[in-house]
């Protein structure tokens, strides 16, 4: 593994290193909640997906949703982590209007998943980020403060939805690594189908722990936790802002207080939420309504056998089998939809061309339209047809770009476009020879110049021939025949 280029913040003649650890809250992909049968569908009318259990009515009891357990195990396997055969659900006690039970059921001392790792592909090589643990917990409801002027309203639709909290070790060192880490985590979970990673809908959010230390120092500085940041961009902004705040304090000879902070996205700064002294005492204790969770080796093996090929393995296969560069492979496997699209295209077409077209033209269109590959305006089937037209010489790469532009509009079949527009490449040597003769005839003066040694004019003749063919002439053929005629 090569050393990453370091991210350091400079102050006068000093260099500070930034230490980052993330607690990612990922919503488990599941039809129903962690301890009740209510739906988890996003965007429903307030309080329409709430059972008596979710609203904590007297005498209601939680019953574990086995599917969520399997999803957590699956994620643990994807993180190359230890699956704990015995784990415990605890109550985390605190009062809030959108926490109906007065406690959140979570896992404290004994999480379902233990230590694991995530490999980051950084520009300068790979970096391993340690996973401390993954545990299951319930989400709370939502307090809405801006509808009624006098009251806070509560929506319990999210109350009880299953979350996986994935805690990293403090191994991250830069906003870039955070970006790659979150994307990798998201990618793994999307491959596994355990979290849709949809940050807009709040399916993925993170608490960010930040501390700083002078370069070369071995012990960690005092950390602050920035709560509930819901986009990668904001995480990066929050880290930069918080690291600088801490460094400023140190530079002034002040101490950093260990505290919980909030990121104000509008002002691009973090502000104190509560200090260590005011920290909640959550009074964790094992939930007596639930028995310790015991997981059999059989279940783990069964889930293991269902694990699909994950990004790291897929990348290796793409490199080994298709001869892709590590860079190309990384891009293509970063998202399961992209890799699926790629594999669909190359079923019937050239790998090299497919790689270039997907990472080039197609990504450009997706970026421009700000859409996911799942919403691609060009289907894998039609893209592979286009690639075959290039490969078999029916059209040139240049014409292909024109065809592609048209394909975007309603996923049109490139064969039909080429046919209708008469874009088929002219590859008949006789026809090419004819039009070259015409060019030579019409430019006898230039021919004379060329023959007297002005080699550069060759390009002029190619251009003229191409123009004569209305862009459809096979470039290789034009080159070849031109050379024969002019040099012969």
């Amino acid at each position: 593994m090569s050393k990453n280029s370091e991210y350091l913040i400079e102050r006068e003649n000093k260099q500070y290193e930034v230490i980052i650890g993330l607690e990612v809250h990922a919503q488990v992909t599941s039809e129903s909640k962690l301890f009740s049968q209510s739906s988890t569908k996003f965007g429903a009318e307030p309080n329409t997906q709430v059972s008596l259990v979710d609203a904590a009515f007297p005498g209601m009891l939680p019953v574990i949703n086995e599917f969520c357990i399997e999803q957590a195990i699956k994620t643990g396997i994807g993180l190359k982590a230890k699956i704990n055969k015995k784990s415990v659900f605890d109550r985390k006690n605190y009062f809030y209007a959108d926490l109906p039970q007065g406690y959140q059921i979570s896992q404290y001392k004994y999480p379902i998943v233990g230590e694991g790792k995530v490999i980051l592909d950084m520009p300068n090589g790979q970096k391993e980020i340690g996973i401390e643990r993954l545990h299951l917990e319930q989400d709370a409801g939502k307090s809405i403060h801006d509808i009624d002027p006098n009251n806070t309203l509560v929506d319990l639709n999210r109350s009880g939805v299953a979350l996986m909290e994935i805690v990293s070790k403090p191994d991250l060192r830069s906003p870039d690594e955070v970006n790659v880490y979150i994307k990798k985590l998201r990618s793994i979970m999307r491959y596994l189908g355990t979290c849709d990673g949809n940050m807009q809908e709040g399916s993925l959010r993170a608490d960010v722990n930040v501390s700083v230390r002078l370069k070369g120092q071995t012990e960690f500085g005092t950390r602050c936790e920035i709560k509930n940041v819901n986009s990668i961009k904001f995480m990066q902004m929050a880290i930069i802002s918080e690291a600088n705040r801490q460094i400023d304090l140190l530079e002034e000879g002040k101490e950093i207080d260990q505290e919980t902070r909030l990121f104000d996205t509008k002002r691009n700064e973090t502000r104190s939420m509560r200090s260590k002294e005011d920290a909640h005492d959550y009074r964790y204790f094992p939930d007596p309504d639930l028995l310790p969770l015991e997981i059999s080796q059989e279940l783990i093996e069964k889930i293991k056998s269902d694990i699909p090929e994950l990004p790291d393995e897929k990348k290796k296969r793409f490199i080994d089998k298709f001869n892709l560069s590590p860079y190309e492979a990384t891009i293509l496997v970063s998202d399961i939809e992209t890799s699926n699209f790629f594999e669909e295209v190359i079923k019937n077409s050239d790998v090299k061309l497919a790689t270039n077209w997907i990472t080039g033209e197609l990504f450009a269109v997706l970026n421009e339209k700000n859409i996911e590959i799942s919403q691609s305006p060009v289907s894998a089937k039609n893209l592979s047809k286009l690639i075959n037209l290039i490969k078999d010489g029916t059209i040139s790469g240049k014409i292909a770009k024109t065809v592609f532009e048209q394909m975007i509009d309603g996923d049109q079949d490139p064969l039909i476009i080429v046919k209708e527009k008469g874009l088929k490449q002219e590859s008949d040597p006789k026809a090419i020879e004819e039009l070259i003769n015409k060019v030579i005839e019409n430019n006898s003066d230039k021919v004379a110049e060329y023959k007297s040694g002005k080699d550069k004019l060759f390009g002029f003749f190619v251009g003229q021939a191409m123009k004569e063919s209305k862009g459809k002439g096979n470039p290789q053929l034009i080159n070849k025949i031109l050379k024969e005629k002019l040099n012969g």
Binding site: F57, L61, V63, P100, Q101, Y284
Partner: protein
């Protein structure tokens, strides 16, 4: 035929099956008696009108195959009953009407029983005298101004006063057995996991169990048979084969080994109780049982352990009563003020005391010293019983260290109140079944009970032993109906 309301469940079901009595006649008899028994204050909410309607409906098309055919039954007000107010004896749930039914009560209605009403109890089942109820104390029919025990005090009084043929209570540390003992009735706390906790207002989840409270052991076996069931809605419910307790009830306990734990001879125990225990032992011998001295060395630690574990769980279980979603709310300027006012006004002193104890023992810095240690001691107490049950089939002890006391006598002395549960609490901590049967009287003619403790899931055995002892003891609860009004 004797007066309807004094009949046992067994007699009433027989009379219904033999068409000697209708459900309506029985229901009306209990309603009429209840109307004249308001002084006892057993009912928090009655369901009389609906009960009579339902009894008529039953009679119009009686299903006599039911185990409780058309039998009216009042239940402790800790069981959520669909459409009928459920208060848990607290102001904070004063106006709470569930839209759902507890599994245990559903089991009653599924066997043909009819809800008579909801019976008074200590607030959130926290108490040993029914004096912590928001709805006032209950009179023990045994004598005026005597507590009926608690927390199932309304239930024990109702059975003793012939206001319901049988009832169900809940028992977290003795709340079925102690009131049964105080009123000369039978009360059984089943093995933890025998009866579903779904729909029962929670006090301490790892200890709470519903159980039957009846006039005699046979009725107890009949009722247990109905209420005990595996329930997927309760993760701590246990899936095992339940006996046909009433069918298999037998007085033949010949050769059964019964343990007598020396640690239950506590200081200052009245001679009468010592004598009662001796009598029990000799009756057991008479029945052919073998008496074996045993030791339960950690008994002394049971009460302090209980008063850490139960309040800890309660402090968390009662967090949901916050004025936000249902129940009582006292408005405030902001969320915190609303919480403070709601919970200060909504809960009574004993509940607050236990919430504070529970919050304290779970706090960081104290957790290890209290809660964690209590959990470890709990394991030792459980192990004491495991060891004992390798030598004996059941254990015989007194149910309580005293008979019923006067209303108000212990309200200012919580520790003395807690001591009431000294013989019953270890059984909850160990998750075992225990039954209290009336076994004699003290010098004031107040009833005293004996407790039979069994192995997990061995309810049949303790029912049989109790059935045999009951026959020998031949207890008569001469209650004078002193409270009746015209």
């Amino acid at each position: 035929m004797s007066d309807i309301t004094s009949q046992s469940l067994f007699e009433l079901t027989s009379n219904i099956r033999e068409k000697k009595l209708s459900s309506e006649e029985i229901t009306k008899a209990f309603v009429n008696r209840a109307e004249k028994s308001k002084k006892l204050n057993v009912y928090v909410t009655d369901n009389f009108e609906r009960a009579i309607d339902q009894s008529k409906k039953f009679d119009s098309n009686p299903n006599l195959n039911f185990k409780l055919p058309g039998i009216p039954i009042a239940v402790k007000d800790l069981f959520c009953t669909n459409g009928v107010r459920t208060t848990a004896g607290s102001k904070i749930l004063n106006n709470f009407v569930p839209t759902y039914e507890s599994t245990v009560t559903q089991n009653l209605w599924s066997q043909g029983a009819i809800l008579l009403g909801k019976l008074n109890c200590d607030e959130f089942a926290m108490g040993s005298s029914n004096e912590t109820s928001f709805f006032g104390n209950v009179q023990n029919p045994v004598g005026e101004n005597l507590v009926p025990g608690g927390s199932s005090g309304g239930s024990s009084a109702a059975v003793a006063a012939n206001l319901t043929p049988v009832t169900i209570g809940t028992d977290t540390g003795g709340s079925i057995r102690q009131p049964a003992s105080f009123t000369g009735t039978v009360g059984l706390k089943p093995t933890y996991g025998s009866c579903s906790r779904y729909g029962i207002v929670a006090f301490a989840s790892s200890l709470d169990q519903a159980g039957p409270m009846t006039k005699n052991v046979r009725d107890c076996s009949m009722l247990l048979e109905v209420i005990s069931s595996f329930d997927q809605k309760d993760s701590t419910s246990i899936d095992y084969k339940r006996n046909n307790y009433s069918k298999e009830l037998s007085k033949d306990i010949k050769g059964k080994k019964i343990g007598i734990p020396k640690e239950y001879r506590v200081d200052n125990m009245p001679d009468e109780i010592e004598q009662l225990w001796k009598n029990g032992i000799s009756y057991a011998k008479d029945c052919g049982a073998e008496i074996i001295d045993i030791s339960l060395p950690h008994t002394n630690y049971a009460l302090p352990t209980y008063y850490i574990v139960a309040p800890a769980e309660a402090s968390s279980n009662l967090a949901r009563y916050d004025g936000v979603k249902y129940g009582f709310r006292s408005p405030g300027q902001n969320l915190i003020e609303m919480y403070e006012k709601t919970r200060s006004e909504g809960f009574g002193d004993e509940v607050k005391r236990r919430i504070m104890i529970g919050t304290y023992v779970l706090s960081s810095g104290y957790y290890d010293a209290y809660y964690l240690k209590a959990q470890k001691v709990r394991q030792l107490i459980k192990k004491d019983f495991d060891d004992a049950f390798s030598k004996v089939d059941a254990i015989l002890t007194p149910s309580t260290p005293s008979s019923a006391f006067k209303i108000g006598e212990k309200t200012n002395d919580p520790v003395s109140m807690y001591l009431n549960d000294i013989f019953t609490v270890p059984i909850n901590l160990a998750g075992l079944p225990g039954i209290s049967i009336p076994a004699g009287k003290d010098k004031n003619n107040y009833p005293l009970g004996l407790q039979v403790i069994g192995k997990p899931f061995d309810e049949q055995n303790i029912l049989n032993i109790s059935y045999a002892l009951e026959d020998k003891i031949n207890f008569k609860n001469d209650i004078s109906d002193w409270w009746l009004s015209e």
